[in-house]
Every structure is written in C-alpha cells, then in structure tokens.
C-alpha cells in the first residue's frame, strides 16, 4: 500500500510542479526566454510571504493576496526593462542576464537570511492533517488542496489564453510579433503581461511549496528550476495540460525513487528527465539538427 500512497502523493505534488512549470513554459513560448532565475523567483515569493506574515501578522492565506500580485507587477516591470533589453540584444544575452539574476538573487538571500531553510507555518491542521480512504490509503489535506488549486489555476490560465482578448494577443505575439505590431499591438506590453502571469504563478507555487516543504536560498536552482524544466520537457512544450502531465510524471517518479531509497528522490527525477531528453525531445531540438 505504501506504493499506492506514494503514487497518489506523486500525482498531487505533480500539480505543484506543473504550477512551477507553466510560467517557464509561457515565457519561453511567448518571448523565447528561458528564465534561469525562474526557480529563484518562487523562493523570493516564499521569503516575501514569510516576511510579510512576520511584519503584519496576517493569516498565511492572506499572504498570497499580497505577494502574488506584487510579484506579478515585478514581472511586468522586469520584462519591460531588463529582460526586454536582453532580448533586444540576443538569445545568449537573455541567458546570461537571467543566469546573473539567479546568482544575484541566491547570494542576496544567502547574505540576508543565512543558508538555513525555512518553512511557512500555517498553524492550521491543514498542513499535517490527512484523511483516509478505505483502510490503507492516506491523503494529506495540504497536497490535495495544492493540487486542486493548481488545477484551477491552470484551467483559468487555459481559459484566459483561449477566450480573452489579451490571451489572443499573447498567442498572436507568440506566433508572429511583427505581424502583431502591424495589427496595432505593442508586443513589449504583451510580453510584460505574459511575464506578469509567469511571475505570479511561480510566486503562488513558491509560497505553496514553502508550506508543503522547506525553502532555502539555493532551493530555487537545486530543486525548483529543475522540477519546472523537467515537467515542461516531459510533458512537451506548448500545452498546459502537457505540463500538468509532465508534473505528475515527475512527481510520481520522485516518490517511487524515494520508496526505493530515500536519498534517491532527486536522482530519480533527474534520470527520468534525462531519459526524456534522449528519447523524446520534441520541441526542444534546434532547427539545424532537424534537417
């Protein structure tokens, strides 16, 4: 039964991974930017939440309402300034700049908060409580809630992209930003919106992760960025549901790895990721290699 529980746990946490991944996927799909600082942003959001709760003494769930919009705004600003500047130079520049940001953020967090990891205490039974199905299957409340929230957010994002005006603009700009300009759309503004969404979703996921697990300055790159990227790779680029599937596969692989040997959780995930790279790199192959 431990295996069944592990798989269920993996599925639930896969929702969180998918939430981490959708921002990365969006930024790449629309702006062609691989944001190497993506994971660190989640950690920043987590630390912000901790800070806000400590200073204003609000309930944990309210911290979402403050931090997520704040991070979304930060995303818009960063995209319009630094990232657009890098994009105008070259793809290589965006990689170097986002890598630089990642290092600066991590070392900044290290400097101000020490290397110790922290968790976001909820003080609710939510965190540790669970319910049982039948006699053996145990499902934690927190993972379940996180999974449901992730699915709702992904559904909302899917709807936004397919049915709203800005969603259409985002998809149009992703297809052909020059043609979008000719139609009157300022693609820099649209990029900003996409970045805002990416930063917002990753902030949401980061705070949730802080409640579910621990956050340390290096968590952004040690775990989150790789999870997000792995989920995108496994599920294939371009589809939010693919990202959810990728997240679930990753989560399950990790839990199975943990069942085999506790220290192999990370390794199992990486190996699955590498296997997918070798066997099924659709959407990731450079154009030159396809000919």
């Amino acid at each position: 039964m431990a295996w069944v529980n592990a798989i269920i746990q993996g599925v639930l946490i896969g929702g969180l991974y998918a939430l981490f991944a959708c921002g990365l996927s969006l930024m790449f799909g629309v702006m062609k930017v691989v944001n190497l600082a993506h994971g660190d942003l989640a950690v920043v959001a987590g630390y912000l939440a901790i800070g806000v709760i400590a200073v204003i003494h609000i309930p944990v769930l309210w911290s979402f309402l403050i931090v997520v919009p704040l991070m979304a705004l930060l995303g818009y600003v960063m995209q319009r300034t630094i990232l657009q500047g890098a994009l105008d130079r070259s793809v290589l520049t965006t990689l170097m700049v986002t890598f630089g940001l990642s290092v600066v953020i991590e070392n900044g967090l290290l400097q101000f908060f020490t290397a110790n990891s922290r968790a976001i205490g909820t003080g609710l039974a939510l965190v540790t409580g669970s319910f049982t199905i039948g006699s053996q299957i145990q499902i934690g409340y927190l993972p379940l809630v996180i999974f449901l929230v992730a699915v709702v957010v992904l559904l909302g994002l899917q709807y936004f992209l397919s049915a709203s005006r800005y969603g259409r603009l985002i998809r149009a700009v992703a297809d052909d930003k020059e043609a979008a300009q000719l139609a009157g759309a300022d693609y820099r503004h649209v990029f900003g919106i996409a970045a805002a969404i990416a930063f917002g979703t990753v902030a949401l996921a980061g705070i949730a992760y802080g409640m579910y697990s621990q956050l340390a300055p290096t968590t952004g790159t040690d775990t989150i960025l790789l999870f997000a990227f792995a989920a995108v790779v496994i599920g294939g680029l371009g589809s939010l549901w693919g990202t959810l599937l990728g997240g679930v596969v990753l989560g399950v692989a990790q839990q199975i790895g943990a069942q085999i040997s506790l220290s192999d959780e990370l390794l199992a995930g990486f190996i699955v990721f590498l296997a997918v790279l070798v066997l099924r790199p659709q959407g990731l192959i450079s154009r030159g290699a396809q000919s």
């Binding site: 890598f99 290092v103 990370l266 790279l277």
Partner: protein
C-alpha cells in the same frame, strides 16, 4: 553595367586581405617574457601571493573555456562545473591508486575531454535555452552519482593523498607551476584553434548556420570539438583546484558558483575575445580579495556588474579598450587593407 558590378570591379583592385598586423611579433615576445617572469614567482614572492595567483590561474582557465563555448560557439553552458568536479575527482581517484596528483593532471584533462563526448550526445540537439538548463541538470546528476561512492569520499569528500612528506615550499611551488602550465597551455590551445580552420567555421556558423552547412562546414563537429576542449580545459582547472585545496569535496568542486565565476569574468572582461577573460579574471580577483572569499557580496556585485555589462557594454572591458586602441594580443581575425587608407578590421568572430 549595373551599379553592383561597377563598384565591385573598382574595389577588387584596391583591397587586400591580410592575416595580422605587424605588432604580433611584439605581443608574442611580451607574452613570452610575461610567462617567464611568472614562472620565476615562487622564487621571488611569498607563498600567500602564489596561492592567490593559483586561484587566478584556475579562474582564467575556466573563463577562457566558457568564453570559447559562449563567445565563439554560441553555446551557453551553465553546467561546466560538472567538468571542474570531474577533473578534481579524476585526480583523486588516480592519487588514491598511487599516482602523484601532478602526474595525474594531464590524465584528468584528457579524461574530462573523453567524458564530454557522451554528455555532448545527450545535449547537442537542444536549443540554446534548453541546452543551458540541460547542462545544469547534467552537472547536478553527475554530482549526485559521484556522491554515492563512499570510497572517494561520498557526500562529504576526502583529503587528496599523494603529498605525504613533501616539503611545503616545494608543494606550493609545484602547485603554482601546475596552475601556470595549465593556463598557458589552455590559452595556447584556444589561440591556435581559433586562428585555424575552427575559427573560420565558427564565424561562418555564427553568421549563417544554414549557409555554413551547405558550403561544407562540419557544424556539428565544430561545436562538439569546442565542447570537448572546454570540458578538458575545465577538467584541468578542476584538477589544479583539487591540488591547491589538498582535498576534494563534492559540494565545493561541483558548485554552480564555478559557472557563475567563469561566466561573469568572461562577460565583464569581454565575451568573444581571447583577451577578455584575462581582464575579467583580474576584476574577479580584485573583487574577491577586497571583499573576502566566503562572503556572498562579491558574487552579488560581480553578478550585477555582469548583467549591466551584458546589457549596456556588450563587448566588455576589453571591448572598450579595443575600440580605442585597436590592438589584438591574440590575433585570430583578418584585416582588410585598403590602399591609401588605414587598415580596417573585418568582423571578427564574436558572440552575444
């Protein structure tokens, strides 16, 4: 005649393409003198200074390799720490088996070059952003795998054997010379590679990959060669690191900080020029020494400066110098000589 044919006919008589300017002989001599002087350092300076210089040599080697990858081949790798670590561990494994770490150094470099081949196979088809993250994942995976072997120290690492009974001053000197040798060889290899066919192929790829392929350039081979050389070079750097630290710890040798350091040094110094990493290394060492090694500040400042340079001064510090005095210490490009005009440099291979 159309305007195009007319002007071409007129120009053909006036232009000549030359390899390099006269000052190459001078810079070559200066470089040789510099190396000789540096080699004498263990006799003239304190061991504290040589230790700092060894660090500088490691950083310069690594930065030159990263520059080769990103500045010339357009491959932004954030996983080079895999090779740094592998180089260190090659030395450790050989030392455990009785071979002197200094003798092990060249084998470590070669071993890393060989190890680069399967890794290249895994990532070579990926687009730039995914290539970057994939190299990062690979490095993390390599570290996790190595940590499983307790015979080489497991997760905590172990001291490097093979120095028992060695005179400390001699050890310092040998370490220094190893670092100097690695750096000189690395720069020489890079210079010769870029000056030759590979440099041409890389420029062609950068300008128009499809055209390069169709005119016969072995694009994939060129990139693979660069990746292998960079792997070997970073491995050599890692080997020197192990020797200078007298121990090998996975967290330290596989740390992504190494990529941060080599990337920032290259960007600040000047991406796409051989001289750039030299300047970048100087900047890095100055910052590191003034802000103390284990403080996170120098990385923060370095990172911010690198971001600024990448956005606003793309050719780095060397680019600022180069624009004014128009000199190349390592001439790998071509000059266009126009009769009755000052020679004008043709576009040189550069990235970013």
């Amino acid at each position: 005649m159309s305007l195009a044919t007319e002007s071409t006919a007129r120009s053909a008589g006036r232009f000549r393409v030359a390899r390099s300017r006269r000052n190459v002989a001078w810079t070559g001599a200066v470089a040789l003198i510099a190396v000789v002087v540096l080699a004498l350092f263990p006799y003239i300076v304190y061991s504290g200074t040589t230790a700092i210089l060894v660090q500088a040599f490691i950083v310069l080697t690594l930065a030159s390799m990263w520059n080769l990858l990103a500045g010339y081949a357009g491959l932004v790798s954030v996983g080079q720490q895999a090779f740094v670590g592998l180089g260190a561990y090659f030395v450790l494994i050989l030392a455990i088996n009785g071979i002197s770490p200094f003798a092990a150094l060249p084998f470590a470099a070669i071993g890393c070059g060989v190890a680069a081949l399967p890794l290249w196979w895994l990532v070579s088809r990926l687009r730039s952003g995914y290539f970057a993250i994939a190299t990062w994942v690979l490095a993390a995976t390599v570290m996790l795998i190595i940590e499983k072997f307790s015979s080489i120290g497991g997760g905590t690492g172990m001291p490097l054997p093979g120095f028992a009974g060695m005179d400390p001053a001699l050890l310092t000197a040998y370490t220094y010379w190893a670092g100097l040798a690695v750096t000189v060889v690395a720069l020489a290899v890079i210079y010769l590679l870029l000056r030759g066919r590979l440099g041409l192929v890389l420029t062609a790829i950068r300008d128009d990959e499809v055209a390069a392929r169709s005119s016969g350039a072995r694009v994939g081979l060129a990139r693979m060669l660069v990746f292998v050389v960079a792997g070997a070079g970073c491995g050599a750097g890692g080997a020197v690191l192990a020797i200078s630290q007298l121990q090998v710890q996975p967290g330290a040798v596989f740390s992504v900080q190494w990529t941060a350091v080599m990337a920032f040094a290259t960007i600040i110094g000047g991406l796409g020029t051989i001289e750039g990493p030299i300047i970048g290394t100087v900047v890095y060492m100055v910052l590191q020494q003034t802000l103390a090694s284990y403080n996170a500040w120098y990385l923060i400042i370095l990172g911010l400066v690198a971001i600024f340079v990448a956005l606003f001064a793309r050719r780095g510090l060397w680019g600022l110098v180069d624009a004014r005095i128009n000199v190349r210490l390592f001439p790998v490009g071509y000059w266009l000589r126009v009769d009755s005009e000052r020679p004008r440099r043709l576009a040189l291979p550069r990235r970013g």
